[in-house]
């Protein structure tokens, strides 16, 4: 058997030859990448002392957007819900995200297609994405939002636009996006009225004027050149930079794009933090990191590397019930299995999450699913606090790179922390 033409590669060639279309799917990069699992914390010992778990306070709250906005977001936990659209998700799923986030004291985010009445109603703190397509873009919704996220790109497809296939363009989705029903809807990859950081600065000024300088302005970039993108976002006047690594999910993108464009989340954080520190803006312009964050350890590692908060998408959907084994027979009928289902664009999700089919969507109880998300968010927060206390920190954001070591040379180089048991940080000149 060839290592170059392995069975999976040959199967993909046959599939492309048979269908004449590239593979489109949801979720983020699935290939094995250097990730947070390749980092370990150095718990306190003689040289540093820990805080008592469950006794001594360890703050988890974070304020986002106090650089220029008069009404910054005040989150109880450093974990937010990433942008996901009504259209890609069912109304029930959006409601569940709002309910779950509310109870945990954090925010949710809209997606392509605009803001629905339901998600505004179910989210106490709602971040409104300002996207290249401007589908459903409405100044009234800008004013209703608690923050505005200017989306330059996302980790699954830096430089790419979106695709929502015809099966999910229902009457309501078509109306929200001003498009004919049932067509394959393309989302633009570039904003229609600005190019470059100088223009972006003016665009942000316009958004602030329209919202009376109240709303925090986030700038979201897909991780590819995080040092320069972060510096330029700061220069453009962002209150918050959102940095999404290639493991970050998407509703529907070409597999070849997801797996071959962008850089891993682990590799993106330190260059972004370096840019913030060089500009004297670390902790003044907050950094939110997303892309493959799965548990409290991942949260703690992001914060230790310099982030102010994280954002979760795929993990939140799993908490709601996505890819749950209870639907195994139906996943099998779709030619897949629980845990591997990623044809989110086709609208046939047995779990009722990535669908616009009313019968499937009705399977998701938004109250129960919201409760599961709340539980998950609280567990992540507790896990993060546990690690922070073990490292002697009274605030999760006091975690620092010196608390970390790496298990692999690659992770050590990307995270700029020593290889475990050594003082060697590849690429830092001490070798």
């Amino acid at each position: 058997m060839s290592s170059t033409f392995d069975p999976a590669t040959m199967a993909e060639i046959r599939r492309a030859a048979a269908t004449g279309i590239y593979d489109i799917r949801g979720a983020g990069a699935k290939r094995k990448l250097p990730h947070f699992d390749d980092l370990l914390f150095l718990g306190a010992s003689i040289s540093r002392y820990p805080l008592e778990g469950y006794r001594e306070a360890c703050n988890t709250s974070v304020i986002l957007g106090d650089r220029f906005a008069s009404k910054p977001l005040e989150l109880k936990i450093p974990i937010t819900i990433a942008g996901m659209s009504f259209g890609s998700l069912s109304g029930q799923a959006k409601e569940a995200l709002g309910r779950g986030a509310n109870a945990a004291g954090t925010s949710t985010t809209t997606g392509d297609g605009g803001m629905t009445v339901e998600e505004r109603g179910h989210s106490k703190m709602l971040v409104y994405q300002y996207l290249p397509s401007r589908y459903g873009m409405n100044p009234d919704d800008l004013r209703k939002a608690d923050a505005i996220e200017v989306v330059i790109g996302q980790g699954a497809k830096p430089g790419g636009g979106g695709m929502l296939l015809g099966q999910k363009i229902t009457d309501r989705v078509a109306e929200m996006r001003t498009l004919p029903k049932g067509i394959d809807q393309r989302s633009a990859c570039r904003h229609p009225d600005w190019t470059g950081p100088d223009d972006l600065e003016i665009k942000i000024q316009e958004l602030r004027e329209i919202t009376d300088w109240e709303k925090p302005i986030f700038v979201k970039v897909g991780a590819s050149r995080p040092y320069y993108d972060t510096a330029l976002a700061v220069k453009s006047g962002a209150d918050v930079v959102v940095l999404d690594g290639m493991q970050g999910g998407t509703a529907a993108t070409q597999d070849v794009f997801i797996e071959n464009v962008g850089i891993p989340t682990l590799a993106a954080i330190r260059p972004a933090v370096q840019a913030l520190m060089e500009l004297g803006m670390h902790r003044k312009v907050q950094l939110i990191v997303s892309g493959g964050v799965r548990n409290g350890a991942d949260v703690a590692k992001c914060l230790a590397l310099g982030a102010d908060a994280v954002s979760i998408g795929t993990a939140a959907l799993i908490a709601l019930g996505d890819n749950d084994p209870r639907w195994e027979a139906e996943y099998n009928a779709l030619g897949t299995t629980a845990g591997a289902y990623d044809d989110w664009h086709e609208g046939n999700d047995p779990a009722g999450i990535t669908t616009q089919n009313p019968e499937l969507a009705a399977r998701l109880d938004p109250v129960a699913a919201g409760r599961r998300l709340t539980n998950f968010l609280k567990v992540m927060t507790l896990e993060c606090q546990t690690i922070a206390r073990a490292c002697g920190k009274s605030d999760v954001r006091n975690l620092e790179p010196e608390d970390l070591v790496a298990l692999t040379v690659e992770a050590a180089a990307m995270a700029r922390v020593p290889l475990a048991g050594t003082s060697w940080i590849p690429g830092q000149g001490n070798y």
Binding site: R134, P139, P180, D184, P192, D193, I202, E206
Partner: protein, 230 residues
Amino acid sequence: MSDVLVRNSTLDLGDLTVRDVNRALKAAEDGAFTVTNPNGVHALACGLMQPISVTIKGHAGYYCAGMNQNADVLIEGNAGTGVAENMMSGRVRVTGDCSQSAAATAHGGLLVIEGDASARCGISLKGADIVVGGSVGHMSAFMAQAGRMVVLGDAGEALGDSIYEARLYVRGRVASLGADCIEKEMREEHIAEVKALLDQAGMDADPASFKRYGSARQLYTFKIDNIDAY
């Protein structure tokens, strides 16, 4: 600022900031205002929500009258990038020329440009109307979804590329049509539509002298055999 909230006020950007002027205009529920000394400042008169009239005496920078709702804005000069971008309703009129992306993604209302418009005029248009007395630049009406654009002069390369359901009317020469944009029959209802838009814009031209362009609807679903068009 109470003095500038009086109806029929003149707001002088020689003395006031853009923030001052925008705050005053947004606070007004009706009336007519004149803005002097704009000198190309950005984000002027954006986000207006009430049926007020605003006359800007001079050139405006980026995003003038952006996201307009209900207001009637007259720019006596040229306008920078993104004039009336994402306008929802109301009217915006520019006596001079406009830079790129005029009325980008605009959902409603009417933009009238007496001079020329640069590239990407009406990009991703979502329902607004545009009447241009002069010519429009390349890639105008790119991915335009809904709404109408009337051009009394010429259109640059790739007009209406990847257009959805917007309707385009051009009296002069079209350098080239973009992907999936075709010339369509100019029927009586279309002549009437152009006449109505010209009347609204206060422009004089023979509506029968325009040609109509729109989507061939061949790229609405992805087909590998259309690869040359992508």
